[in-house]
């Protein structure tokens, strides 16, 4: 038995540490720890500030899923104040959200995840000619021909298609060779390049993937130009409570949005569809297929047992979310929990999440038995608490081995993370694109999705097409490490089409004469109630996100975020068991204990975003009113 530590886990957002016990003989991980190791306290900083500014502050939780927290924030404020944003504002926000998802997924796959699958060193032995042939074969075999409703076609032909010539691949190979021979490996330094997993793929796949790594490094920036046009910049574009700041006018040369500006967005939408369909999906399916063929269907963990999502893309806006109308107006109605999907789609159990559920103490609670917090009162840490009775009192206990400022091993029997443990009916859930897909697929197959939208239909078609390519049933390939990564690619294709869908809707609406982007009639605090509470929901690239706000006398008296990575990366609970990261690690075989490539690969298949997930407490460890970045921790509305 060997104790293995990986800290820092890189190619993620923020600071994450994992530890595991590996049985060297069988390669089995018998115990594992996932620990968020940094805390910044943004919600505390939001206390007493103006709710109209909050989006800017809370957006800085994360620069990778930039815009996600700003969007959830403005939705929460608008829910609290009963603001119904104009149609254009909703369409523009949806375009921005979808373009974020496309760009985020592509960056995740190529730049944060790919180097766990492919190696530039292995690419050196590839034959450029064979690589060109492989590229053509991949494009022939692994394209998924799905698209959204046919809108106006603005592109003559697909421009950014992969190059499949020997000289191109030779050029890339020479560059990699020069880097390796110079001894300055730069970004390729210090990886376990000699790990046997890199031998699973032929050298030509490595070379093709490295070429695409470099291509996408330069191309990804063009995918988020909608943020630059509508929000002025990226990362961290601008929003405004009540809609969007980018006024539309076809009569003024100096207006933020006119036809020329929309054409930039149109170009980005076309590019997104091309890059997903020509690069991302074929690459992923080609690699995934080889992995599945070689029997690599592990790393599923909690996904087989329980997944959760909140649903995505309001078709039209409503002025309230907390009464559940948000859920009734979605393009993708994935709000709910699916259990036991691993046993087969028909045996899986779907439970819907409603507006009332979110406020129900019996549905949601959180535990701190293994987080660096303590609960006071007669039950102590033993009893998980609903956020309304929630408390956040720090109790940093340091590691099991080492000193508080020099960790060797964290204490799996005690507290070991700044993340709390969110629970649904006292159970753990996994969130993310995989959850999203499992839920929609289960609902569709069990007949729970009447009048399917085009997007829901497309999701089901995507899953069935991939099942055909891989030759496996969805319940076999979906809840695995490969499936988690594949679901993200499918989500990317879907979001590119969603971008197009809402772009067409935006154009249609402007055509009808409506140019309003912001509703400012409730801007003045004198129009607000003395006290208001609100919730903003958004299915972020990493899963269901919600923000909760309490506004009193025109100021924020309580703010808290329910973040996807907290659901996935949380520490264990003595009754509910392990969280998604820990279970996925324990569902993964490690070939060489000293080089746990499989572990970092399965962790990265979640696309960790630690800055989003870490908890909040005050430095004296006293109870504070504005609490937690974790689910439900600060939902209590007493100030």
């Amino acid at each position: 038995m060997k104790h293995v530590v990986v800290d820092p886990v890189t190619r993620i957002e923020g600071h994450l540490r994992v530890e595991m016990q590996v049985d060297e003989a069988s390669g089995k991980v018998t115990d594992s720890i996932s620990s968020g190791t940094a805390w910044r306290g943004l919600e505390l900083i939001l206390h007493d500030r103006d709710p109209r500014d909050a989006w800017a502050y809370i957006q800085r939780i994360c620069g990778v899923c930039t815009t996600a927290h700003a969007l959830a924030c403005v939705r929460a404020v608008e829910d609290a104040l009963g603001i119904k944003i104009p149609k254009n504002g909703n369409y523009i926000r949806n375009i921005m959200a979808a373009s974020l998802t496309v760009q985020d997924h592509i960056v995740h796959f190529y730049h944060l995840h790919a180097l766990d699958w492919v190696s530039p060193v292995a690419a050196l032995s590839a034959n450029p000619e064979a690589t060109a042939n492989l590229q053509n074969a991949v494009l022939k075999t692994y394209k998924l021909p799905f698209s959204g409703p046919a809108g106006t076609v603005t592109e003559a032909f697909r421009k950014e298609v992969p190059r499949a010539t020997p000289s191109y691949f030779k050029g890339i190979q020479d560059k990699v060779k020069a880097i390796v021979e110079s001894g300055q490996l730069g970004i390729f330094s210090a990886q376990w390049w000699d790990h046997p997993d890199y031998n699973l793929l032929p050298p030509e796949v490595h070379l093709m993937a490295v070429a695409h790594y470099v291509e996408m490094l330069d191309k990804q920036r063009e995918l988020v130009t909608p943020h630059v046009v509508f929000g002025g910049k990226n990362p961290h574009p601008h929003y405004v409570v009540g809609g969007m700041p980018c006024s539309i006018s076809m009569d003024d040369g100096n207006s933020p949005i006119n036809t020329a500006r929309l054409d930039i967005v149109d170009r980005a939408v076309n590019l997104a569809r091309t890059l997903v369909n020509e690069y991302y999906l074929p690459d992923l399916l080609a690699i995934g297929h080889i992995y599945v063929q070689k029997g690599m269907t592990d790393g599923g963990g909690l996904a087989k047992e329980r997944v959760m999502a909140f649903g995505q893309f309001p078709l039209e806006t409503t002025s309230t979310t907390q009464d559940g109308t948000f859920f009734k107006n979605l393009l993708i109605r994935s709000n709910g929990v699916v259990e036991n999907f691993g046993q087969g789609v028909m045996k899986a159990k779907f439970t819907e999440i409603t507006g009332d559920d979110l406020k129900n103490p019996e549905v949601f609670g959180e535990a701190v038995t293994h987080a660096w917090y303590e609960y006071e009162g007669k039950d102590g840490d033993a009893q998980p608490r609903h956020p309304w009775e929630g408390q956040t009192k720090a109790k940093y206990t340091g590691p099991k081995v080492g000193t508080p400022t020099d960790w060797k091993e964290l204490n799996e029997k005690g507290k070991y993370s700044w993340l709390k443990t969110p629970l649904w009916h006292m159970k753990m859930c996994e969130v993310g694109p995989l959850a999203h897909y499992i839920i929609i697929y289960t609902k569709a197959k069990q007949g729970l999705l009447p009048d399917m939208t085009w997007a829901e239909k497309m999701m089901v078609d995507q899953i069935e097409a991939v099942s055909k390519v891989l030759g496996l049933a969805p319940e076999v390939w979906l809840p695995t490490m490969v499936g988690r990564t594949a679901a993200r690619a499918l989500d990317c294709q879907l979001n590119a089409e969603v971008e197009k869908f809402f772009f067409d809707k935006l154009i249609e609406n402007i055509k009808s004469g409506d140019t309003q982007v912001a509703s400012m009639d409730k801007w003045d605090p004198s129009t607000w109630p003395k006290r208001a509470v609100g919730v903003g929901l958004y299915e972020a690239p990493r899963g269901g996100l919600s923000h909760w706000i309490t506004i009193e006398n025109g100021k924020i008296s309580n703010y808290q975020c329910v973040v996807p990575t907290t659901w996935n990366a949380c520490p264990r609970d003595d009754k509910a068991g392990h969280g998604a990261y820990e279970l996925a690690m324990m569902d993964t075989k490690v070939k060489i204990a000293d080089k746990p490539l499989e572990i970092v690969k399965v962790i990265r298949s979640f696309d960790p975003c630690m800055a989003c997930a870490t908890h909040l407490f005050n430095e004296k460890g006293e109870k504070i009113n504005v609490v937690t970045t974790d689910p439900y921790g600060g939902m209590h509305v007493d100030a």
Binding site: R11, S189, Q191
Partner: protein, 364 residues
């Protein structure tokens, strides 16, 4: 693997002549403060010198600066990290992780001691011995101090690294601050912004790669070429300000016509950045062009200078200072009136006393 590409080889490989290389060495000599007769020695040394090594550390941050860095349009991110610099340690892009990666950091620091550029993203947290920001099992502040000692120069990327940023906003629960307090006397290039403009971030590195020295800095350590002007002074909407043509609220007539956002609290008049001239995405836009008021994200303490949608801070029920000032003026005037009335009474009393011969002045 042990063979290191020399600076000369690197120049030649990039199609640059030996002449250019010698020029670079002359610049390098000046930068190092050596006299010109040392050039030959520098050439000799540089022929054995590899690509500029960059170590990128992450403190309390959101990775938005990394993301901005790879959004650069020129140089493109691939050209930068594969050809112009050797990015040996970076939590976002580096392949390695865990113990081998930390070991690689130590090796790089040792191997290139006194030569590497340290780029830092994120603030330093020091409360509770820095245990709010742990990486590699150690507080970030310790790693920063250790690595900073061997750096040739330090780049502070983003307002978090320059001044503490969002986590340093009141009440600053983690005791976060800019890195300058923890890096001793090393030269620091401050590149503030939340995040900074992509081409500004890469431009600073390219300046070092191309000119062999750090760019000229202003009194606050910012590159003059990128932070030399206020956004207001370079804004394409400035003529509307001068003409008194303003948007009074979001999405009103003025906003649609693209008039000045001054009345919506735009921080352009106080903010030094390249948004007005370089703009984002190589001239595509910047917040003001997209109709959103600037929030002054390259200002040291902009998070505590709210509300962002108002020109001046607001207090209590009266609101901004002009209302409070007018209130105080009225109160003063009222006080004056009362005092005047009392003074008249006093004077009459005094005059009466005088007439009665009970003259008395002051203390006499």
């Amino acid at each position: 693997m042990e063979k290191r590409e020399t600076m000369l080889e690197s120049y030649l490989r990039r199609g640059l002549s030996r002449r250019t290389f010698i020029k670079g060495c002359v610049a390098l000599t000046t930068m190092m403060g050596l006299s010109t007769d040392m050039v030959s020695k520098v050439v000799e040394a540089a022929e054995k010198k590899p690509l500029p090594v960059v170590i990128w550390l992450h403190g309390h941050e959101c990775t938005g600066c990394d993301e901005s860095f790879i959004r650069s349009g020129a140089p493109l991110a691939s050209d930068l990290v594969l050809t112009n610099i050797a990015l040996e340690y970076d939590h976002l892009l580096s392949a390695g992780s865990g113990e081998p990666f930390e070991h690689h950091l130590e090796e790089t620091v040792k191997k290139y001691w006194g030569q590497y550029i340290l780029a830092v993203e994120g603030a330093v947290s020091t409360t509770d011995n820095g245990t709010f920001c742990m990486s590699g099992g150690k507080p970030f502040v310790e790693t920063l101090q250790r690595v900073a000692k061997g750096a040739a120069a330090i780049i502070a990327y983003g307002t978090c690294a320059t001044d503490g940023g969002i986590q340093g906003a009141k009440p600053n629960p983690t005791g976060s601050a800019g890195i300058k307090h923890y890096t001793g006397t090393k030269p620091i290039i401050n590149v503030p912004g939340c995040p900074p403009i992509p081409e500004v971030m890469t431009g600073v590195v390219m300046h070092v790669a191309l000119f062999g020295k750090i760019p000229p800095l202003d009194s606050e350590g910012r590159p003059k070429q990128f932070y030399g002007n206020r956004i207001h002074d370079t804004c394409y909407r400035r003529p509307f300000f001068d003409a008194g043509m303003f948007a009074d609220s979001y999405d009103d007539e003025g906003a649609k016509k693209g008039w000045c956002l001054y009345k919506l609290g735009c921080r352009g008049p106080e903010t030094y950045n390249s948004c007005g001239n370089l703009r984002w995405y190589q001239g595509m836009s910047y917040p003001i062009q997209s109709g959103a008021a600037c929030i002054g994200c390259s200002n040291a303490h902009f998070w505590d200078e709210g509300p962002m949608f108002a020109r001046l801070p607001e207090y209590g029920p009266l609101g901004d200072i002009d209302k409070i000032g007018a209130g105080l003026a009225v109160a003063t005037a009222a006080g004056v009136a009362v005092h005047a009335a009392a003074s008249v009474v006093q004077k009459q009393q005094r005059d009466k006393d005088k007439e009665n011969g009970k003259e008395q002045v002051g203390n006499k």
